[in-house]
Symmetry: C2
């Protein structure tokens, strides 16, 4: 607490790592690449979950739960899927430990080898589609609209808290449809849900788009995504929604009898967001003093700190503040009235600033005499002395205002850092400056790979709102009819 | 749907299995012992989670998340703990698959062997206490009151949906305290929370007690439990709360500096309930027609089925019923107005009966003429024609009444099936008849084992409210000063 954070301009990466630890969001565990999500971090994730879950249910989805383990043979059934995930799988091979007869402590029991190895799910398409085969016979069983909240494991070699971890928490929607059109609509609907959540809860503007073939989900016909811009000018993929075509239906032989009495393969989608969103949330808004949280996702929206000498002053403040606390809570505002005595007001101020509490109210003896209270906004760090009378409405309005302002700020940042370029030199200059770079590309994977090799930038997406526009590929000069969005990315 | 369930008296076990499948609660997956929790089953589990989570938070706990994987060496640090769990561990040994160069498809890559094997958590004491070591330095860091919602894996050889599965969902609370007394109070408080939940949400009476040394959690000094009685006369352990003493603090060297500036080991507790509660809920109340759900946990509390011929009649019914639906929902009642046209009212009646919807309202043409509506209670299967006017309040009151009545019914069943016995013959006769058998026991593990071998009955618990009473052990005749509760159990 005494040492201040590294600044963003000094060392952005170090700033992020330190902030995640000091704000009690997460830390590394003894297991390589697996994180511990600490209570404060988890309470933000819970708010995200609740909001997303409500949105999924409003769009007709229900939750279910499928096994953690996937038989190795299942993973192999969809060719590009296994290609995409085989390199980073945690594999269970045995089901028992025993005492080493040679005194080597507890060892894996060689007699307890599984007949078929099990993969800890990296994603659940295979185990879910193998189940859907039994659940779907006719068009009457469709659409099937299911979501799962779960942990998944991808054995990443380089990990970073929230952004890339071997185990992470996520939700994965898996839907089945009678027609291609309906499946595409579902894919697009869920992209809209994600964009809505990112913008209206996380206060984080996103570009909606389609991935190139190179960046597509292993087993999808089309991957839609939302891409956000972080304060260091790098892009972050915040959510994906996949149109799976009939790929998994074919791999697992899932057919249905249509209204017209025809047997056909089912159409599928899958879509997910993960604890990676925590990383995005942190990097989108926070500053050198600590977290900045949008009020809609802040576990504590308002903290009230009394400044007093002696029991009598504290009691007088309590008497005045308790009704305010009660009535704010009645309105659904989450308030902490911090009367703890071990820490000084200054210490508390720094602590709640670090933790991103949107509004801090402070009230001392002079305020009591004058009928005032001090309101500090976390986003702008402005402090204002105000009349205590009427403060409740000010707090409610300020929460709304903060939610809007931090979105507006992030949007202005993105606008400033989105560059339209037409030459290779400009392209490189803008990539080095940071941000999204909108440029023409000739549509080949070969060129995409070459650009990546040369610049470390990837095509984040082909924006859904990209206009038809004749141009020349930034690298090859070959014709292009649309700009795509490049960036260096997390 | 057309075939009726096996009856409980005919084949209780088959009745349970069929009910779980037909009511869309769960099914077996392709992975041995791992279940799929289907949407309807999961929606009941979600209601349980929400209620429990609220209770945990009201008692000062916060949620966090710890890794799925536990290094083998961690599990071994607490001697009795590893003894208890080593025999049923899923072990991860590799982190990659690859294509077999000899054409054998996808195989485990022998070059990707982990240096140390990882265990899929069977419970998280070890990984959590290894973390607490870093979180706890002084009495100021205590108590630490953390809960986790997670999946765990215990490689059971004989599995049954919900009751015993290789993977299950649960919550596990892990708390750390400065004093023994405080840790014991926490252990007891959480037992009370579980008992409160079982009785007031699940409508399932429970006996609160302490486990004998034989049945204690591996690593605990004392295990508290709640035990419920199922309709076939078998007991089911529904939740446990463990006083861990300083065992895990010692295993992971977790010390704190007390107010008196003394360095001492921390005191711990852990407590959990799992998806096993779903099995308990099903078996506690359901009948030969299907599920009977307590209104507080029913995903659909009221279903309204229209009985009509032609569009006009349906429209008239809709016009009358829609305001009722709206106003019930406003009161927080979850209502389904089933206007689907593919199925007959009779089919719908059977379906909602199978799924345990507490109240069914049916309204037809004659009701429309007479200003009536038919109300059917799932618990008693009584049908009553009532005035439509005022039905809203009747529904609300009936939901409360059903919640109370099914608890009362389960309590009466348990009272009838709890037997106090004093001789070995009586003991055996009552065990065969089914139910709890209250008897004297000499307090030795040896006698307990012998009784288990002879009768298959175990000591479910030493009830917390057991009175001091001189007596003789049912088997050995040795002196005893308290009765304990025996039963055959799930």
């Amino acid at each position: 607490m005494s040492k201040s954070l590294p600044s963003r301009s000094e060392n952005y990466s170090e700033w992020y790592n330190e902030l995640v630890k000091r704000a009690d969001l997460a830390e590394n565990s003894a297991v390589r690449g697996c994180m511990i999500i600490k209570p404060y971090g988890y309470s933000i994730w819970e708010k995200m979950q609740r909001a997303l879950d409500d949105m999924f249910k409003e769009t007709g989805h229900t939750n279910a739960y499928f096994p953690l383990f996937i038989p190795k043979s299942f993973l192999s059934k969809e060719a590009s899927h296994v290609e995409g995930f085989a390199k980073e799988c945690a594999v269970v091979t045995h089901y028992r430990l025993k005492n080493d007869p040679n005194g080597g402590g507890v060892i894996v029991d060689p007699d307890a080898k599984l007949e078929e190895e099990l993969i800890v799910r990296p994603t659940s398409e295979t185990v879910i589609w193998s189940t859907y085969k039994n659940w779907i016979q006719s068009y009457r069983d469709l659409p099937l609209l299911i979501n799962q909240w779960a942990n998944v494991v991808r054995w990443e070699m380089r990990t970073r808290l929230f952004l890339r971890t071997a185990e992470f928490l996520w939700q994965e929607g898996h839907t089945a449809h009678a027609t291609k059109q309906e499946a595409i609509e579902e894919t697009e609907q869920m992209l809209e849900v994600y964009a809505d959540f990112a913008e209206n809860f996380m206060a984080m503007p996103v570009v909606k788009g389609i991935k190139t073939a190179n960046e597509r989900f292993a087993g999808a016909d089309e991957t839609y995504c939302i891409e956000a811009l972080m304060q260091d000018g790098k892009a972050l993929q915040a959510g994906t929604s996949h149109f799976l075509g009939q790929n998994f239906a074919k791999a697992f032989d899932v057919k249905f009898l249509s209204k017209e009495n025809q047997l056909d393969y089912v159409w599928g989608t899958s879509w997910g967001v993960s604890t990676r969103l925590m990383g995005a949330l942190i990097m989108a808004h926070s500053d050198d003093q600590g977290l900045v949280l949008p009020p809609k996702l802040a576990p504590i929206q308002v903290v009230i700190v009394p400044i007093y000498k002696g029991e009598d002053q504290l009691n007088a403040i309590k008497e005045k503040v308790n009704p305010l606390v009660k009535s704010l809570r009645k309105q659904g505002v989450s308030v902490k009235f911090d009367v703890s005595e071990n820490q000084s007001p200054g210490f508390k101020f720094a602590e709640y600033e670090l933790k991103g509490v949107p509004i801090r109210l402070a009230i001392g003896n002079r305020d009591m005499e004058n009928g005032t209270i001090e309101l500090a906004r976390r986003d702008t760090r402005e402090k204002t002395s105000m009349a205590f009378e009427g403060i409740e409405q000010v707090v409610v309005d300020t929460l709304t205002d903060i939610q809007e302002k931090i979105y507006a700020k992030a949007l202005a940042f993105r606008t400033e850092n989105t560059h339209v370029v037409n030459t290779w030199d400009e392209f490189n200059a803008k990539l080095d400056a940071g941000g999204f770079v909108s440029a023409h590309w000739d549509g080949t994977s070969e060129t995409e790979d070459k650009i990546k090799d040369l610049t470390k930038a990837t095509i984040r997406c082909i924006p859904l709102d990209a206009k038809e526009e004749a141009g020349q590929c930034i690298l090859t000069g070959n014709p292009s009819n649309k700009r795509v969005m490049f960036a260096r990315a997390y």
